[in-house]
Symmetry: C2
Subunit: 423 residues, 2 copies
Amino acid sequence: MNDIPHQSGMIDIVDKGLGPLEEPLRPDDTAGLRWQLLREDLSLPAAVLYERRLANNLDWMQRFVSEYGLKLAPHGKTTMAPKLFARQLAGGAWGITLATAPQTRAAYQHGVRRVLMANQLVGKQNMTLIAELLEDPAFEFFCLVDSAASVDHLGRFFRARGQTIHVLLELGVTGGRTGVRDDAGLRAVLDALVQWHGTVALAGVELYEGVLTEEDEIRALLRRAVAITQELAQAGRFERQPAILSGAGSAWYDVVAEEFSKANIGAPLDIVLRPGCYLTHDAGIYQAAQTQIQSRNPIAHKMRAGLLPALQVWAYVQSVPEPGQAIVALGKRDTASDAGMPRPASHFRPGIQSKPSPAPAHWEVIRMMDQHAFLRIAPNDDLQVGDMLAFDISHPCLTFDKWRQIPVLDDAYQVIDVVQTFF
Amino acid sequence: MNDIPHQSGMIDIVDKGLGPLEEPLRPDDTAGLRWQLLREDLSLPAAVLYERRLANNLDWMQRFVSEYGLKLAPHGKTTMAPKLFARQLAGGAWGITLATAPQTRAAYQHGVRRVLMANQLVGKQNMTLIAELLEDPAFEFFCLVDSAASVDHLGRFFRARGQTIHVLLELGVTGGRTGVRDDAGLRAVLDALVQWHGTVALAGVELYEGVLTEEDEIRALLRRAVAITQELAQAGRFERQPAILSGAGSAWYDVVAEEFSKANIGAPLDIVLRPGCYLTHDAGIYQAAQTQIQSRNPIAHKMRAGLLPALQVWAYVQSVPEPGQAIVALGKRDTASDAGMPRPASHFRPGIQSKPSPAPAHWEVIRMMDQHAFLRIAPNDDLQVGDMLAFDISHPCLTFDKWRQIPVLDDAYQVIDVVQTFF
């Protein structure tokens, strides 16, 4: 990961959420920017990452997974930020998980050489993108199959090219998302794999437990996956050594770690967990999930200081048009609103205060439009046009994808890097 | 608009929704691509624009506004696509409306020379961005003020730079968004403008009626705006000739046209309408709004053939895991879901069919995740892995901002251009 190629775009002067730029900036040339958030050097709204919290989360999850002797392939679709992928890999991650062929290519272009695409690979141009990457023998890639049709789809394309593609058998549940539902579905996939032997190679078993909401159902699915993995190993069906067993989104990775770490298939096994949101965490749905994890999982409990929200969006008050209401220049274009509204965390008056103060607990975003947030305050609260507010967010994925550039701040609100995204 | 500078980025090979590219492409060099949607040349999911429908909508709205003798400044925040701005301006638009300083700069970089920023301009770096553009005497710019604080905020910054900024007085309603609520608020703004005379120059009056839902309330607000504009004109308060009177989002532009076209302030007046969504229209909230407009407005009624949905998102079926359910590789990362789920419009089986057929009316997206859509079908419907589906969308704004590149298709599904966005 030391020589990441820079074929990607420059940091463009027309992008939002940045400070003054005379000309497009090379993504690596961000060290000397000297942009300072509290000095109003950034155009707000701006999404920002906090370096100390990022580093904490990066380390925390790698240690957690290592405690179980497992491997980490963070889901990169959350951030789509190659600079963050590089830090995850440098910190010990086994690979990067992605959701689509273009995401995979964007990661490859920035130096990622092992991708678990936790999704079916469908369509001529998508398969072409992957086939081109597979011409690099240093690139290892896996995608999912969950039906004979999906195996046939890959088989026809890659046999015509004389290439082999490695797949994971995806297990699912009735009423869930993708994944084989039952033994008949499983047999159909295995039969199709025999037909396409040499072209579509089974490397392991995969599931996404996040479609379920109850712990006992999740444990049952995980145990089914372990049992099927054992059977397939004993039947000599895996064409990668070690075989792979993979699961875990950001809400149940502890339960997956517990169940999968007990697996014994009589042969080496790469057990790969794929949480994505841990890196920035949030102050909404994933904070709630993490609170559960810290209370129910002994290792997470022992590690105490857990994940910290590392992503915020800063914005200006643009109007206080009537008592009890402020309008903030922050909209659906700038932050997720599908899993709870952004929450005011800090308040800062430029030129007057020296540092932000916590936002009162009763300030609440009650509605968002494309470019505006409606903030309910108390009638006599001291909130003025030009005041800056930091918002905690819920659901980092749908916040990241609204920004092409995200400044990284140190403890003094100084910009020390700019992270590019490739959505 | 003939010599649009190309300081913007190239069409990058890592972007999603495109066809095969050997190397980054200049935005102008898209004519010879020969990508064909039905031949699966595009990586799906892909957002696409239909040229014939775009041209229809472009022409329809310009004719509608011209019938009333008014001016059009389409809201560019919808598409943030300079190639589309250029077509709107070439078609007769007076200027482009935008929502933020970075949006304004992106438009300027691509040749737009008159911007109505239908928003307050707040914050040092945002004001700096605009101040730099105002150094070009060919650039005309307006933003909104709705409080003495907002006037003071601009006054302090621009007086220090020795520049003049033109503003529109924004009118609002209690419980609405921004805008002065009452006479006391109005007087406070006017007094502040006196204090900052020579720096903050009043150019007109503005409102956004879309925060209201009832026609009689909207007409009352519009009449208040006309009355205030007359008073200010008679008092000699406007520092631009003609003064500007502006309103209208995409749902009530006909009512705004009716009311504003009756205004007589005894002096020339530029009446500027700002719909944005008409260009691509949709098959959801704005289709419903347009149906109302076609029925209630005599000119729209007379013009008959109205706006057509010009934006769709194509995606693959990736799994049919159980009877009655298909999973489509299309998620919240690819299309708006805040104003209704995307709706299956067409179905196409590559290599088998010669053209798409209409999707059955009972196919319905019942849930979306970041990268997946859950499609309810009938148990025996013929839908297979690898089938292509075109989805109509509701709310174009939050679909556009999920794509950096959008192919434009002719009637034969051939890509004839690629539109870049700058969100």
